[in-house]
């Protein structure tokens, strides 16, 4: 489909897209590093929220600043910042999640061309009574910081519009994921991956329009012809920047029916209350949403929600996409693995960096895992 090519081009070369966007619209672009960024506020300020994904090519500048046990995502983002390739962005937002992102923020502030730099100091525990008020205050402060950085006034009306737009996008994303889980052959995993990545980059109005078309087409597509022996997998972890993974799984006789990834369902999960005061509604979503392991909401919250997700989508197995040196995810892995085993849900650990392990061996692992399911 033509539309996928559009998404793919944006994902393959986001910088060219952003430069052109800036030139054409005159809008500002605000970079962000993780899905705990309240994009609605950035959008309401008239800027384009742009997720930084880093690079896997020739990292050498970042190595001078980072410890060797730092994940390749943070390393890649810093490399891009230091290289000057991100010169089109007007500033960056760093939500405080894992240690490495927090340190990235400091290194960025001291070493990357001084454009605006905002730390979003989120609470770590999200399940306490004080967390809600704290989070609302953080959003309040972020709004003010952004106003002075961009020299604009963010009105409640603009915030409400942004919330409505994001709600529509999130609902469509959820619908697309659900449709695809029902009839996986209508949409390649690789294409779905492009869509969700592009959703964090491109003009959100355009996204909404294109997404509506794709959802409509997928809805019209004939019902599932999925072979009964196809194994349904669920991906969990931080980010997945490897569209190849989906091909490998599909070639090995499997299909990804859902995920619990920062570049997946965690990004679009949760609809905001359009009647509530905007900043409160934004804060509430982070309290209700499935957490990232850098946050806390009960000792076994993530595990329980993963088991439920597996049941809901009738997945045959779970693949942990563990980015090397991502300690929040690595700390959670043992207990979640035990929990899945207790529930008789098979799982496989895929330890990876921005670069994938050798193709042949990766194929062997997925083929074997799918064959034993």
């Amino acid at each position: 489909m033509e539309k996928f090519t559009e998404f793919k081009n944006i994902v393959t070369d986001p910088y060219t897209y952003c430069r052109k966007y800036k030139e054409e619209t005159g809008n500002k672009i605000v970079g962000f590093t993780c899905s705990y960024t309240p994009e609605e506020i950035i959008y309401a300020a008239g800027a384009l929220p742009f997720r930084l994904f880093g690079t896997d090519e020739g990292i050498h500048r970042a190595d001078m600043h980072l410890q060797s046990y730092c994940c390749s995502l943070v390393r890649g983002i810093l490399e891009e910042g230091l290289s000057g390739r991100l010169d089109f962005i007007n500033g960056v937002v760093f939500p405080h999640t894992c240690d490495s992102i927090q340190r990235l923020s400091d290194i960025w502030r001291l070493n990357v061309t001084p454009k605006f730099h905002i730390d979003l100091v989120l609470p770590v525990k999200l399940n306490t009574t004080s967390a809600r008020q704290y989070l609302i205050d953080v959003m309040e402060k972020f709004k003010k910081d952004l106003e002075s950085a961009l020299g604009v006034k963010i009105t409640d009306a603009a915030l409400s519009d942004a919330i409505k737009l994001y709600n529509q996008i999130r609902k469509l994303m959820m619908k697309l994921y659900t449709l695809r889980a029902q009839k996986p052959e209508t949409l390649k995993g690789r294409d779905l991956h492009s869509i969700i990545k592009a959703a964090m980059i491109m003009d959100r109005q355009l996204l909404l329009k294109t997404l509506s078309d794709i959802v409509e087409q997928t809805q019209k597509a004939p019902a599932s012809k999925m072979k009964p022996e196809t194994k349904k997998l669920l991906l969990t972890g931080g980010i997945c920047s490897h569209p190849d993974i989906y091909d490998i799984i599909e070639n090995a006789g499997g299909v990804v029916v859902w995920d619990d990834l920062c570049t997946g369902s965690r990004y679009f999960e949760g609809i905001l209350d359009e009647k509530a005061p905007p900043l409160e509604a934004i804060a509430q979503r982070y309290l209700d949403r499935d957490i990232c392991p850098a946050k806390h909401a009960g000792l076994t919250d993530r595990g329980e929600s993963l088991v439920q997700m597996v049941r809901q989508h009738q997945a045959d197995g779970v693949v942990f996409m563990l980015l090397k040196f991502c300690d929040p995810h690595a700390f959670d892995y043992p207990y979640i693995k035990e929990m899945l085993e207790r529930e008789n849900i098979p799982c496989m650990l895929l330890d990876m960096e921005e670069q994938l392990p050798a193709g042949g061996q990766l194929q062997t692992r997925f083929e074997t895992f799918i064959q034993i399911l």
Binding site: P357, A358, G360, Q361, T364, R365, E367, T368, Q371, I372
Partner: protein, 255 residues
Amino acid sequence: MITAGIDIGSITAKAAIVDGGKIIATKIIFTGYNAELAGQKVYDEVLIEAGLGKTAIDKIVSTGYGRNAVGFADKSFTEIMAHAAGAYFLNPLIHSIIDIGGQDSKAILLDDKGKVKNFVMNDKCAAGTGRFLEVMARALEVNLDDFGTMSQKSASPSKISSLCTVFAESEVISLIARGEKRQDIIAGIHESIAARVSSMLARIGVQKPAMITGGVARNSGVVLALSKKLDMEMEVSPYAQVNGAIGAAILAAAL
């Protein structure tokens, strides 16, 4: 029913012909540059060995990293599935398999019926593989086939602390320069492989009885070091290196 299994590994290509419950012939050649050609060649040679024509073979299954290059196979399975089938065929009591090949090592857990329950793969690093031993053999100017017997003469194995093949090689060169005995260095190399592989095994938990397969199983020094490290008998079949090919032939019979 006569079936054939072709296992294209990173260093060697193996073939086996099995007739019902009996192994008729096996063959090992170097894989070389062209995996497709190696598959063809090892198959031709095993047929000669068995004294059979192509028409006598009912089904063929390919396995190993080059499994998809074997165009004439009826189906392909991963080497993990093939090693499990092979080990279960050779000894149905086996519950764990440690397969140390040319470019990676794997641990496989089997249930009572020989079905794969779980597996882990070391595919990031050459330490603890056949390639590691080849590099060391070159540095020590010792024939790899003599590694097993030589290491067993050692009274005090040298310490090799580097986990990386390249650094371990320079460490070995320093040991040579210091005048350490060859047998001690070799025994030290075997212990370092055992340490590497057993840490991988600890992740899935080995269950007795265990079998070691793959080309490195031919090295009695590694087998001994591993049994010591794991405090467990390691079964080694004379077919260890062709176990994957045998397993593929067994899987072919079930097609």
